[in-house]
């Protein structure tokens, strides 16, 4: 297959559950060898999209092809080419690590020496070699995820789907997990991973932002960040100023200033997007001062994926409201 040929391609892919449109006219292309991140808030339609691409759920409209096969009509041709790791733990908790791996090796007809080597390799890869006899249900959260990944890789799939693989996993395991994904990426496996974590989105070759079933943006992390207009000023209120309603007062005082494009609260930080940081910083400082907020720690910073996505979702919402009014 040509390297430029998309390995996953969807055309107006749509899935409804009753009146709810979980995935709405999705058009997506993923090329061989990509590590594609699907990001978006809960309920955006990420899981439904992955399930349809894994050929275990039929779309209600539109179509998708994976490795050149239609996900509805040629579902079984797709299945030995893909590995799939669901969001929740879907292995057998009453079977041991080894038994789970053996079971999936049997199902995928991985036999003989190849099987032995593959399982040993995966166990090492997932750092589970010492836990082969432990029941899967008794593993820690991170180990469960790694076992699930190992099981989904047993047949050397060319495409790997991972639905929020690191949700509920400690930071160390998360890092390990992504190291494994990087190795797979280097091996040439095409990876589609959904994640709610923006730092993980940064590690993808391309990201798609899903919101309310729609793909709002789809580009490389660098390009996505570039979509944000203006400069970002970050306010970190000093300790003595912190109190009830502070962030709201601060937000209100700067939102209507000229040159301020957008204001986002981020924990106890305030992110102010302005057209020109050098010019607007003193004005922002002054506005905050009227609310007796000490803007000593006001600095220009780089927008990250997090800010980019919040900004993009907000713009999308505003556009929708505008359309509704018309």
């Amino acid at each position: 297959m040509n390297d430029n040929q998309p390995v996953i391609q969807t055309e107006n892919l749509t899935r409804k559950f009753g009146n709810l449109v979980a995935v709405d006219c999705l058009n997506l292309e993923i090329k061989r060898g990509e590590i594609f991140g699907l990001v978006g808030p809960d309920g955006a339609g990420k899981t439904t999209t992955i399930r349809m691409l894994a050929a275990i759920m039929d779309p209600t409209a539109g179509s998708a092809s994976v490795a050149g096969f239609d996900t509805v009509k040629q579902a079984e041709d797709i299945k030995h080419r893909i590995g799939y790791m669901a969001q929740q733990f879907n292995l057998y908790g009453d079977l041991s690590v080894q038994e789970n791996l053996d079971f999936f090796a049997d199902i995928f007809s991985v036999r003989g020496r190849e099987r032995k080597e593959r399982i040993a390799q995966l166990l090492q890869f997932a750092r589970l070699t010492e836990f082969t006899s432990r029941r899967a249900g008794h593993l820690s959260g991170g180990m469960k995820k790694k076992l699930a990944l190992a099981c989904s890789l047993i047949h050397r799939p060319e495409i790997l789907y991972l639905d929020e693989p690191t949700t509920g996993v400690d930071p160390v395991s998360r890092r390990e997990f992504w190291d494994i994904l990087s190795d797979l990426h280097i091996e040439g496996v095409t990876i589609l991973v959904s994640t709610p974590y923006m730092d993980e989105a940064e590690r993808c070759s391309r990201v798609g932002l899903m919101y309310q079933g729609q793909l709002i943006v789809c580009d490389s992390p660098k390009q996505v960040k570039g979509l944000i207009e203006g400069d970002l000023i970050e306010l970190r209120p000093v300790a003595k100023d912190r109190g009830v309603g502070l962030m709201r007062r601060a937000e209100a005082s700067v939102t209507s200033l000229s040159g301020v494009l957008e204001v986002q609260t981020y924990g106890d930080l305030l992110h102010i997007f302005v057209d020109d940081a050098a010019q607007r910083t003193p004005q922002v400082r002054a506005a905050l001062a009227t609310q007796s907020i000490h803007a000593t720690d006001l600095r220009q910073t780089h927008a990250r994926m997090e800010e980019a996505f919040i900004s993009l979702i907000r713009r999308h919402q505003e556009r929708q409201v505008g359309e509704d009014k018309r």
Partner: protein, 373 residues
């Protein structure tokens, strides 16, 4: 293909073995049901508590009372002074029957005239009352024969008229265990397999593991066979368990061929497993699966003639019983165990079970999809 199925079977066995509670239920349920049905659900009437109001107190009245006692049907639990006292005992359920012998009974008998006695029966349970009714009459008749022989010196066998000599075939002692235990075998075959198959498939859905299975190249048939085989195995162990306890504990003889019995049980499993798979395609949780199985079980038990004879049902209900697969299986099991009949007698039932089994299995398998809803 075969290896994949074998792997599924092995996995299913591991689930079963590692769930000791379910394992316990699987093997204890038939035993508990057997004990309950073998002992508690018996309709054999013996040693019924009986009160006697003997106002005659003659040697003749004592002889009559002894005749009742000797029949084994009645236990003379209490002697009372008056009919009123006897009424109280029946009302309060302390006795189920009462024998009232009026004063002058002995004299009347001695003079060669017909004497009258009263027999009170608690009719609140009709099946008990029926048996007691007949027993009270037959004991009385036998006693009058004896009296006649003594007073007239004529052997009753020499008298003209009709004498009925009933012969009870198959179950001459009319033990209900011989009727109930074969029936129970049918119920265990039906219920255990339908229940555990449906629950084990629904468990995969409940725990999400089905998602990981359908995303593999596994074939629906492999998945179904992998689910079925372990429960067929368990069903046969349970059946042998029921048969062993029936034969060795309750003394139920197996008159026909054990091989035929097991072979036709396998045929019947097609139906019960099919129902189990079908239920699993409707139910979303294990509780739902259990409820649905129970829902099919109760009509099956009653309409299959497990407790009550189909012949006694109103005609419209009898028509409905033809769509209850267990009905045919009970005829097969009772036929082989109690009557000792062979395949040539059971041809119709075998045909019906084959049709049901294949139809239900195909329907259930066709509903099985490798897709999430």
């Amino acid at each position: 293909m075969i290896l994949r199925t074998l792997s599924l079977v092995r996995k299913e066995f591991l689930h079963i073995v590692r769930d000791p509670r379910t394992l316990f239920v699987m093997f204890m349920m038939p035993i508990i049901q057997l004990v309950l049905l073998g002992y508690a659900a018996t309709t054999d009437i013996e040693h019924l508590r009986t009160a006697v109001a003997d106002s005659d107190r003659s040697s003749a009245s004592r002889e009559l009372i002894d005749a009742y006692r000797a029949s084994n049907y009645f236990d003379i639990a209490q002697y009372v002074e008056s009919e009123r006292q006897l009424e109280y005992l029946v009302d309060s359920g302390q006795v189920k029957a009462g024998l009232i012998i009026p004063a002058g009974y002995g004299e009347t008998v001695a003079t060669g005239e017909q004497a009258q006695i009263a027999f009170v029966i608690d009719g609140s349970d009709p099946s008990v009352a029926n048996t007691v009714f007949a027993a009270s009459q037959s004991v009385g008749q036998a006693q009058s024969m004896r009296i006649m022989e003594r007073t007239t010196g004529i052997d009753p066998d020499d008298l003209p008229g009709v004498q009925v000599r009933p012969r009870v075939w198959y179950n001459p002692e009319m033990k209900s265990a011989n009727f109930m235990i074969p029936g129970l075998m049918g119920m265990v075959l039906y219920f255990l397999t339908a229940l555990f198959t449906s629950m084990s498939i629904v468990r995969e859905r409940e725990q999400g593991t089905i998602e990981q299975l359908i995303v593999t190249p596994i074939k629906p048939m492999e998945l179904i066979i992998g689910k079925i085989v372990p429960y067929v195995f368990i069903a046969f162990i349970s059946v042998l368990e029921v048969l062993a306890i029936g034969v060795f504990w309750f003394g139920v003889p197996i008159k026909g061929s054990l091989g035929l019995l097991l072979g036709l049980s396998a045929l019947f499993l097609l139906t019960s497993l099919g129902i189990g798979i079908f239920i699993s395609s409707i139910a979303n949780t294990q509780q739902e699966a259990m409820l649905l199985t129970f829902l099919t079980m109760f009509p099956s038990i009653f309409l299959a003639g497990f407790f009550f004879p189909i012949e006694a049902m109103p005609e419209w209900l009898q028509v409905i019983t033809y769509i209850v697969p267990l009905r045919y299986m009970l005829v097969v099991i009772r036929g082989i165990i109690v009557k000792g009949v062979g395949l040539e007698i059971l041809r119709q039932q075998v045909l019906a079970l084959t049709i049901f089994g294949v139809a239900i299995m195909l329907l259930a398998a066709s509903r099985f999809r490798k897709k999430l809803e």
